[in-house]
């Protein structure tokens, strides 16, 4: 009897979890997204060097049009790779634990993630348009952090701490314009890797 009750209770708990939270989120996707971001930052730094720009000399820099286009392409490439690894590891985890992927909860999570991200995306395009490049790094970090906190209601709550860290970092970077690459490497690289390792260990 006692064992049946215990099983009943754990069944109830797992059904509530499964149906209300997007739990196919894998820590590995965080680790990979972070690695891609770090690789991209290093590549961008090399690119500056090849164009005769010393990134850390603290001087005001003027970037050529071509260089900016190339940087935008790198950023988009990293985004695609990170999204790709997110989808790959999510599908893998859901298969492993026999969890349905495309549920109401998933849709809600994605919608809540997408709203701040899309607004942030438009904001960044406007910044590009007005040639306010220095503000792009802080703005991406801030909106990404807001998006994570917003989506945190529908998945592991740990993601909200990641969101909070991104927002704090974004706020700091507002006062150190011109070091966007460094803050990007920390925010999208190192923080993702740390988060990925923590989540991977916790929910293995």
């Amino acid at each position: 009897m006692s064992q049946k009750i215990q099983e009943d209770l754990s069944h109830i708990r797992s059904m509530m979890e499964r149906s209300s939270r997007f739990i196919s989120l894998s820590g590995l996707s965080g680790i990979f997204a972070g690695l891609f971001a770090l690789a991209g930052s290093i590549y961008a730094y090399q690119l500056f060097k090849n164009n005769g720009i010393e990134y850390f000399d603290g001087k005001q820099k003027l970037y050529s049009y071509d260089l900016i286009i190339e940087l935008v392409i790198i950023a988009c490439g990293i985004l695609v790779l990170a999204l790709g690894s997110f989808i790959f590891f999510t599908l893998r985890k859901s298969k492993k634990f026999d969890l349905p992927v495309w549920t109401n909860t998933t849709k809600k999570m994605l919608l809540n993630l997408a709203i701040p991200l899309l607004v942030g995306g438009v904001f960044c395009m406007a910044l590009l348009y007005h040639q306010l490049f220095a503000l792009i790094a802080p703005v991406t970090l801030l909106f990404y952090g807001l998006a994570l906190i917003n989506a945190g209601k529908y998945t592991f709550s740990d993601i909200r701490y990641l969101g909070a860290c991104e927002i704090i970092l974004g706020c700091i970077s507002l006062f150190y314009l011109g070091f966007g690459l460094v803050f990007w490497a920390i925010g999208f690289g190192i923080l993702h890797i740390l988060y990925g390792i923590i989540v991977f260990k916790k929910y293995k």
């Binding site: 009897m1 006692s2 009943d8 109830i12 149906s19």
Partner: protein
């Protein structure tokens, strides 16, 4: 034996427990999603859900999306109260062991 008598017989099956658990933390859930969440067959879900509907614990909505029929479920106030009571007695039983 007092507490065991209080356990709601309607919630004895695993499938019904599952349906109620899912509906407690969600709004409307449709048939296909419920089926894949619980990992059961069509017939199994249909019979258990209609039993819960008869007891007045869940509400069933049938509509057409395009040409396909779609059935969705939602917990009623009665169902919510009964399920909470059931959980409480399960918990009590578990603690008294």
């Amino acid at each position: 034996m007092g507490i065991i008598d209080k356990l709601n017989k309607d919630f004895e099956s695993r499938v019904r427990l599952g349906i109620m658990s899912v509906l407690m933390v969600n709004d409307w859930i449709d048939f296909t999603e419920m089926k894949s969440l619980l990992n059961i067959t069509d017939g199994n879900l249909a019979s258990h859900s209609s039993a819960l509907e008869k007891s007045g614990y869940i509400e069933v909505k049938k509509e057409f999306v395009g040409k396909k029929p779609k059935t969705s479920y939602r917990v009623t106030n009665l169902g919510r109260a009964e399920f909470v009571a059931h959980l409480n007695s399960l918990e009590k039983l578990f603690k008294s062991k």
